[in-house]
């Protein structure tokens, strides 16, 4: 793959469909006799349903059924208690989806959902994460399977003995993924087989979950996921919508469209846990770290344990002889937290990269230089060299592009009219992993090729990237290649998540194409003379046998902010990221992924916050008018660059994944810039004007 399609800036293949409205999402397929499901949320935090009175709803014209625990089709108890829906009277959190009204119109379904009367026995609840919560415990591992705690050397002694110390606690609130398309499903039962068009990040895992819940052979469930309106982790596995739609469709024996409302995606489908993180750093007077400790606290639900791997980032980012990381968890009467873009790394990097900035101020060393001085030669955990680690190159390149050398480190030294201006930097890393996948490659009689794999394009550009990879692997122009994805009938591949999609899927695609070429070489005439020729592969063995090496993507984030000296309003003038993420398959879609991640980081730094009302046990700002995400007017100048990185220890395409690295260091770069602009260090996100108001003394 020296020249060819990989590395070229092709426009995304489904672009035309998306700009004409022709691209169909989960509840947009024409279906005869379709009905509409509307989910009903629980109105208490913790308790038990004592009575469901469906009569007022059923009396409405058009309402076909009210499905609830008393009458719903039975599900097999599975490993996902969150999905064991409408099976029991217990309520585990406010907003839990406890019934579905099915009607012949959306209007009737909505009104029906309002008229279902549900009585409860409610008990006391606990919904607020605190650092001293009596329920704190040590989970057995953290997401997905990292050790809970790690230690090397003697942190306490190392910390006590150091000439320079920094000890700070950082807090992040609950974040809600909020893809523009809510979780949505069209479910149809035909002759005992279940067909769903669903909005998710991986059809095969959803298929497996549905098969398990409904006790069907996998081949009796088909999941189609051609276009997905975003996921950001929140559609990583089967969620409530698909299970409720399938239950409802079975109950009424008609196809059901069910989309969660925007309000209903604040909770029942997961969110990023709030965190409380204490970071302690010790260094010598040259800024060389001697001790690092990162203690992270987060929450899970009473239904299932999800332990955000918040401090894992700190295990390999910077080195010190004495290190410790811990995770503690508390089970609250809340929905189960789940993946949101860079789970662990994102909140963890906010804390550690803020702490590094604080340390830089304490020791009087430039924060770029401080990071360069502490760049480890080998992975502190594994003791092995990184397959490639270009954090320093990212920092240097970013500093050059950003004009960092001109910076006066003095806080609150730059002013532009009413605005205080400052700049900040942060590092970033994200693991470069791969997982097994299968694919087929077919040579058609007309000279074209077909590649089939159950990959999912949630907007990442995966469809286009795999097409480019396949063309090069086949040694043909991409115009001769067709790629089919997004259907559980295709060869199975894992979810679009963990920045593993392109790495894993391209691996299988390349191997399938190689196998096809080998087959064709053995074919008289070198082509499909009589019918098609197909090669099918799985990378399971190869991926399993990969040596355990430290593989990471890196990035350096730079931010310039301005803060209104009177009102405290914060705006981001400029964001610049430089990334080292292996080979970039498509610069166009890669840039979109990276600036998308960076913008979500901006959103985290300045805008997003799930505001919990302890008495009601839910987030009061559960819509897009009150849960603010970054809008068009908030993004001024934003740039993503990358280094030309070649790493032979990754996967055949040499890619590291770019879906998450963009968010990792952004919030810290912005808050560090806010400190530089104002002299105020904000350790609880988001940075909002009420935390900065009155710097000028005017207010």
């Amino acid at each position: 793959m020296t020249t060819g399609a990989v590395g070229q800036a092709y426009p995304r293949l489904e672009g035309r469909e998306k700009v004409t409205g022709a691209a169909r999402y989960a509840v947009e397929y024409p279906v005869d006799g379709v009905t509409y499901g509307w989910a009903v949320p629980a109105a208490v935090v913790r308790g038990r349903i004592t009575r469901v009175d469906a009569a007022p709803a059923l009396a409405l014209p058009g309402v076909l059924s009210v499905v609830h625990h008393g009458n719903a089709p039975r599900l097999a108890p599975g490993p996902e208690p969150d999905l064991w829906l409408l099976q029991e009277p217990a309520v585990h959190y406010r907003g839990q989806l406890i019934a579905v009204v099915v009607a012949t119109s959306l209007e009737a379904a909505r009104e029906g959902a309002r008229l279902v009367r549900i009585d409860y026995d409610a008990g006391p609840h606990s919904t607020v994460l605190t650092a001293d919560h009596p329920g704190l415990y040590r989970p057995d591992q953290v997401n997905p399977s990292y050790p809970t705690d790690t230690a090397e050397g003697d942190f306490d002694a190392g910390y006590a003995a150091a000439p320079v110390r920094m000890d700070a606690t950082y807090r992040t609130p609950a974040y809600h993924n909020n893809p523009m398309e809510p979780h949505a499903t069209t479910a149809q039962w035909r002759d005992g087989r279940l067909l769903v068009h669903d909005s998710n990040q991986g059809a095969a895992p959803v298929q497996a979950t549905l098969a398990e819940l409904f006790e069907l052979p996998r081949e009796s469930v088909r999941v189609i996921t051609k276009h997905v309106g975003g996921g950001f982790g929140g559609k990583g596995y089967a969620k409530a919508a698909v299970v409720l739609a399938a239950l409802a469709a079975r109950q009424v024996d008609r196809p059901v469209r069910l989309a969660l409302t925007r309000q209903q995606v604040f909770g029942p489908v997961g969110y990023r846990t709030p965190t409380i993180q204490r970071v302690r750093l010790a260094a010598d007077t040259d800024g060389r770290l001697t001790a690092i400790c990162h203690d992270a606290i987060s929450q899970t639900s009473t239904l299932r344990e999800f332990a955000e791997q918040t401090a894992v980032y700190t295990r390999s980012m910077y080195a010190a002889p004495h290190r410790r990381t811990t995770h503690r968890l508390v089970r609250l009467d809340v929905p189960t937290p789940f993946w949101m873009r860079a789970p662990g790394e994102c909140p963890g990097a906010y804390a550690l990269e803020s702490a590094m900035d604080e340390l830089a101020t304490v020791v009087g060393i430039d924060p770029v230089e401080l990071r360069i001085r502490n760049d480890p030669a080998v992975d502190p955990e594994l003791g092995r060299p990184f397959t490639s680690r270009n954090l320093v190159a990212c920092l240097r390149d970013g500093a050059r592009r950003f004009g960092w050398a001109e910076r006066d480190p003095t806080p609150r030294a730059r002013r532009d009219g009413r605005w205080l201006v400052g700049t900040g930097v942060a590092g970033a890393s994200y693991p470069a992993r791969s997982r097994a996948a299968a694919a087929t490659a077919t040579a058609r009689r007309d000279g074209g090729f077909l590649v089939r794999i159950d990959a999912t394009d949630i907007g990442t550009g995966a469809r286009t990237a795999l097409w480019q990879v396949a063309a090069d692997a086949l040694g043909v122009p991409p115009e001769r290649v067709e790629v089919q994805i997004g259907d559980s009938d295709l060869p199975p591949a894992g979810v679009a998540g963990g920045s593993m999609g392109t790495a894993s899927w391209s691996w299988a695609v390349i191997r399938a194409c190689e196998a096809l070429r080998a087959k064709l070489r053995d074919t008289p005439g070198g082509g499909p003379s009589d019918g098609e020729v197909t090669a099918e592969v799985s990378t399971a063995d190869e991926v399993r046998d990969q040596p355990a090496l430290p593989r990471y993507a890196y990035g350096a984030h730079f931010a310039e902010v301005r803060v209104d000296a009177d009102t405290g309003e914060v705006r981001v003038n400029r964001l610049l990221g430089v990334f080292a993420a292996g080979r970039v398959v498509n610069p166009t879609t890669a840039r979109s992924q990276l600036i998308g991640g960076m913008t979500m980081g901006l959103s985290m730094a300045l805008h997003e916050e799930g505001v919990l009302d302890e008495r009601y046990g839910d987030w009061v700002n559960h819509d897009l008018a009150t849960y603010h995400i970054t809008g068009c007017a908030d993004v001024e100048r934003i740039e993503a660059h990358w280094l030309d990185e070649r790493d032979g220890e990754l996967n055949p395409a040499g890619v590291k994944g770019i879906g998450e690295i963009g968010i990792v260091g952004t919030a810290a770069a912005i808050t560090n810039a806010v400190h530089h602009a104002t002299g105020v260090r904000i350790r609880d996100l988001p940075v909002r004007l009420d935390k900065l108001i009155g710097l000028s003394g005017l207010a």
């Binding site: 009177d566 009102t567 405290g568 008495r615 108001i693």
Partner: protein, 331 residues
């Protein structure tokens, strides 16, 4: 959403008569707030009287100065009107600072004045709210109240009025023309909205069935030097966490006349009479403006999460007036 009947009246009198006869009816204008609240179950009318096709969509210059704005003039059309842009910049700025382009294309002048609070407890039928359900309690009083009132609230309600337009109209001494079952009458904008008091469910002083038909702006040459300053939590559309509408008339450096109104601080658009009094007749300075704001806010009672609104309102008062005094109002 409750099933509803739909009626398109032929004229204002018919509209008012229908509404007066139907206790569960509501007017439908731009719908940007009502449709939203109907979906939430907060409002459940059984009849919608669509007033958008009534002949109330004209903006007329009045003889002797001033402007008469029909109640169904869309926010975007009003903001773009050349006379508004030239003579009442505070009004154009307030409209442009509100919502999104798509909403401004729907929202009407009359409807904007009657929009309901964005208090999150009011909008959630699962939570206590005296405004939505009298007697159920006010969850916001001791709940999450960062966005709520600092002035003139009662223990029954701490909601704020969300309109930007109404704040500008309060500063301009606008008059609201309404048609009530008893006939037409004029209501000064400052007297349109009520304090929450014992009856937060009663938001205006209008009779049941009243239809706003127009808003009249007085001839006010000083308004050519006017500004609307809105602070929000992001640059993209959001409701105000603080706003000020200001008209400043200087004689040399002495304040000959001034009009000030605040948004996001109370249950109604807040005309800052005390601050005006403090300013009038004195040589303008930023310090004077700060003192004036302090005088206005002296009786403020911040809630647990919104104490910042006092320094914020003070800061934007100073900025708005100072920029007007210097002749450099910035958007």
């Amino acid at each position: 959403m409750r099933p509803f009947r739909y009626h398109r009246p032929a004229g204002v009198a018919e509209a008012v008569a229908v509404l007066a006869a139907e206790p569960q009816a509501a007017y439908l204008a731009g719908g940007t707030n009502l449709v939203d609240l109907m979906k939430l179950g907060v409002q459940r009318p059984d009849l919608l009287v669509d007033v958008t096709r009534l002949p109330l969509d004209a903006v007329e210059e009045l003889p002797g100065g001033g402007l008469r704005i029909g109640a169904t003039v869309r926010n975007s059309d009003l903001a773009a009107h050349p006379v508004v842009r030239r003579d009442y910049p505070v009004l154009a700025r307030a409209l442009l600072a509100a919502a999104s382009g798509q909403l401004r294309n729907l929202a009407t002048t009359g409807g904007n004045l009657l929009q309901r609070t964005r208090c999150v407890y009011f909008q959630d039928t699962g939570k206590a709210c005296n405004k939505r359900e009298p007697g159920s309690g006010c969850a916001a009083r001791h709940g999450q109240n960062r966005d709520l009132a600092v002035l003139d609230w009662s223990d029954l309600c701490v909601a704020t009025h969300p309109s930007d337009l109404a704040v500008a109209l309060a500063a301009l001494d606008a008059v609201v023309e309404v048609h009530e079952p008893d006939g037409p009458r004029d209501v000064p904008l400052a007297a349109l909205h009520r304090s929450p008091g014992e009856h937060p469910e009663r938001e205006t002083t209008l009779a049941r069935g009243a239809l706003i038909t127009a808003v009249r702006l007085p001839h006010l040459p000083a308004a050519r030097r006017s500004a609307y300053l809105k602070v929000r939590d992001r640059a993209s559309f959001a409701f105000a966490v603080g706003s000020v509408a200001a008209v400043l008339d200087l004689d040399g450096d002495v304040v000959r006349d001034v009009r000030l109104a605040y948004g996001a601080v109370a249950h109604r658009p807040w005309r800052a009479y005390r601050a005006e009094e403090e300013l009038r007749g004195r040589p303008f300075s930023p310090q004077l403006a700060a003192r004036a704001a302090d005088a206005e806010l002296a009786e403020a009672r911040p809630l647990r999460h919104n104490g910042f609104k006092l320094p914020l309102t003070r800061a934007i008062t100073v900025r708005a007036l100072t920029e007007l005094a210097e002749g450099t109002p910035a958007p």
